[in-house]
Symmetry: C3
Subunit: 350 residues, 3 copies
């Protein structure tokens, strides 16, 4: 009722009082200078999201009593180097990273909207570079998928039209998530499953140990184009160093890529050393490739870090993978060639 | 002067101090699960704005002294199910719902910018479903209008380039608004009136009674395509139930559609029952249709509501209207067929 | 901890607590009624940014200790008359005006991202109308540049992919900025410099005196299309009146335009009188034009101003320049004709 009056413009501007506490503004501004190189060509310029993806968000929770809470979360990705947003098909801002409403209770959380896909998150959590920048793992969205109405280009990083259930915290370290999303095709159409997704993620985190597995399936325009993504992650914090293992596989028809990555982070001075080595195994064994990454992030504060990262990809004769970075892109690499990237940047949480 | 320095980047970041109180962030996050059905086809997925349109806004007022105030209001619509914004022609965010600066005094309010059109608001205020979701009235933007430079598709919901005057509050229950907007065509062009709009709204709200009428005219590319929208609303709050009546008509050339809708809301438990029945009468009497809607919204709090709504449309032989919902769309309906929609969602004010 | 689980699982985004103070929301909402006229044609409607460009921004600084600070600044332009944003190629919102991360110390500031170009700012600072509205100077972005990947249409106002160094404040009135930006073309390409920009700005401001000069070069698709912009500004505040001089030149191949503008602002009552006269001299002397502008801004408060401005352009026989205004555009002017614009608006800082 109150909203109606506001919309209708009666005494509209009167109720401005103390609403600020309902909404938290948060985000990441991450920008750097990078150089990516392929076969006989390189590109130098500004990059963004080299340590953490740049974003601006609005979120809040409301205590409904009886252990129940409601929450909303709106999070827009952006390129700090150009100011562009990440709306589908344009450079405007949109809440492409997350746009959800949740109900939370002792029984867990039900979340509706656009969100990270369940089958993506492990590749981020068990990668020392969080999938970002010139050093990030390539163990996700490797295989394209033709005509996926609900995802762009391959196994989804974020997925729209999703309903998720999350286990409650305080299960002795166990956590988990089940997620379904709809491609929203009309019933009866030959490809009425197109874009439908379902995913599952289960993990255990206690003391120094963290282990998780996930799997997801995205329906293509035909069942031959259905895409399956599975992954397992493991890390153990030894104090001086935290080794981590990531196994991730994507399969579509006869195509299959399996990544096995060893990573580690280690505190050093006011910062953190990061390193990873990944082997990417394809159905065609001549199309495999490897990637090695090293980096260091120096923390001026909990919010502000300066980082430097180097990544190197070596292809077998049938592969031409190259290192790209958000805001600068990639250069071409010849089959069997190598590609490298170097980046120095600053990441600021707000 | 201060702004220049800021822009110029000298000591730019120094002046961040206590500005927060100048801007209120507000909005609605509304997302649900819906199914819409037509003739032999249905679609299931996530919807948004089923109870209140999802939005994010920034607004504030400044007291100028002497009873004068200045205010601004920037409000962007969005689809929570996908994170998409509602910019014209793209999925980026824009202040499509409202983008205005106001001067307010004892004499009323002058408001400049993009805003709800005067001839739209009654259809919202006197509809138990606020025009939204599977249950919302279809009594607005029924007739398309070719080539309207200042509006999309028909009688405008919001309109750009508008100047409005609002009567002050405290007129013993009377309120009103006059609005003109410009299509901004060059003078002398054959269609130099195209997109020009003028509208008027008058209402009376005192105790349990609320009555209002409005009319608006939008110029088309030719005078034969001028579109006129008129409506009358009436409601009376009996406590146990609040019946409401909405009459709305749109006319363009020989085309005319008139809607007559009976609605009611009734408090029930921690929530509200809603129902409406509308008859839509067209110039071609064989193209009439009817819609019936029922729903219930349960309030967890003043800010958070869970709702369920059902709507049903029955067409005469010459009509093929169907129920659509934001974020999911509609399915086709054969001439003379029926269409239905069901939706369960959560609406959170922030 | 909760945030970690939500987005990434790492301690990355852990600092969610009382974050409101980390972000300042700021902006300008400026909207008016304007009429622009050319040869035998005029256009009337709503304009925006007539006094200050309308914008919404988010910014903040963090004290890192030892005199070091980190800062971020995200600023989106918009049209208040329509609610549209200014993303490249669409009407969505984007941080087109500024999107930067900075490190600031006693040694100055390093700033990365999209920002005002060094060679634009003087035309704003030494123009009584700040380049805006019907009265603003035309002494910038006069010459187009074919195929500039990193700028739109001519000498850049803002530029992406920029690294800037600013001198520290407290240099006895001296300030300065060096800026480079990359078009981010692949090495080896024939036009690998395309879009590269470098600029320099130096100024002195002490007591009533303010003087500055700047120069910038933007590489075109060929070296014949390289564009050079240079300008000098001077102002002296006499108290009763503040005269200002702006000389600005743009050069591309054989094309050259040089503007010489005299301006003045003068406090009057609760506001400010503004006037300017500019002569625009082209390589083809028959294509010169002149512009004269007068205006007044009345301050209701420090934040809210009502303004009125009139501008008039007179072309020589070979020129057909006309007055345009954001949100309304311009009408055509015949070679040798005149153009005028008048605008009354309200500008509100928030």
């Amino acid at each position: 009722m109150k909203r109606i009056l506001l919309t209708a413009g009666l005494a509209a501007l009167a109720s401005a009082a103390p609403a600020q506490s309902k909404v938290e503004i948060f985000g990441v501004a991450d920008v750097g200078v990078a150089r990516v190189s392929g076969t006989g060509v390189s590109k130098t310029g500004l990059s963004t999201g080299g340590a953490n993806i740049s974003r601006l968000g609005f979120r809040g929770t409301e205590d409904l009593g009886g252990g129940l809470k409601a929450g909303f979360w709106l999070e827009a990705g952006m390129d700090v180097d150009t100011g562009a947003g990440k709306a589908a098909g344009s450079s405007g801002l949109a809440f492409n990273r997350r746009s959800t409403v949740s109900l939370l209770g002792h029984w867990g959380e039900v979340r509706l909207g656009r969100d990270d896909s369940a089958s993506f998150l492990n590749t981020l959590i068990f990668d020392p570079f969080l999938t970002n920048g010139v050093g990030g793992t390539m163990a996700f969205t490797i295989l394209g998928i033709p005509g996926a109405a609900n995802a762009t280009g391959g196994a989804p990083i974020q997925i729209s039209n999703a309903v998720s259930y999350f286990l409650p915290p305080n299960l002795g370290g166990f956590y988990g998530q089940a997620q379904i999303a709809r491609g929203e095709q009309p019933s009866g159409a030959p490809n009425h499953n197109q874009g439908n997704y379902r995913g599952l993620r289960l993990g255990y985190r206690q003391g120094p140990l963290h282990a998780a597995l996930a799997a997801g399936k995205l329906h293509g325009d035909t069942s031959a184009n259905d895409l399956t993504a599975s992954n397992v992650g493991l890390s153990y914090d030894l104090g001086m160093v935290k080794p981590m293992l990531l196994w991730a596989s994507e399969k579509r028809g006869s195509l299959k890529v399996t990544a096995l990555q060893l990573g580690a982070t280690a505190p050093l001075g006011n910062g953190e050393l990061r390193a990873s080595y990944g082997h990417y195994n394809t159905a065609d064994s001549n199309a495999d490739w490897n990637k090695i990454s090293v980096g260091y992030g120096y923390n001026f504060s909990k919010r502000t870090q300066v980082y430097g990262t180097y990544g190197y990809v070596k292809n077998k004769d049938g592969a031409s993978r190259s290192i790209g970075v958000q805001g600068l892109g990639a250069t071409g690499t010849s089959p069997g060639g190598s590609s490298s990237g170097i980046e120095v940047g600053i990441r600021h949480f707000f």
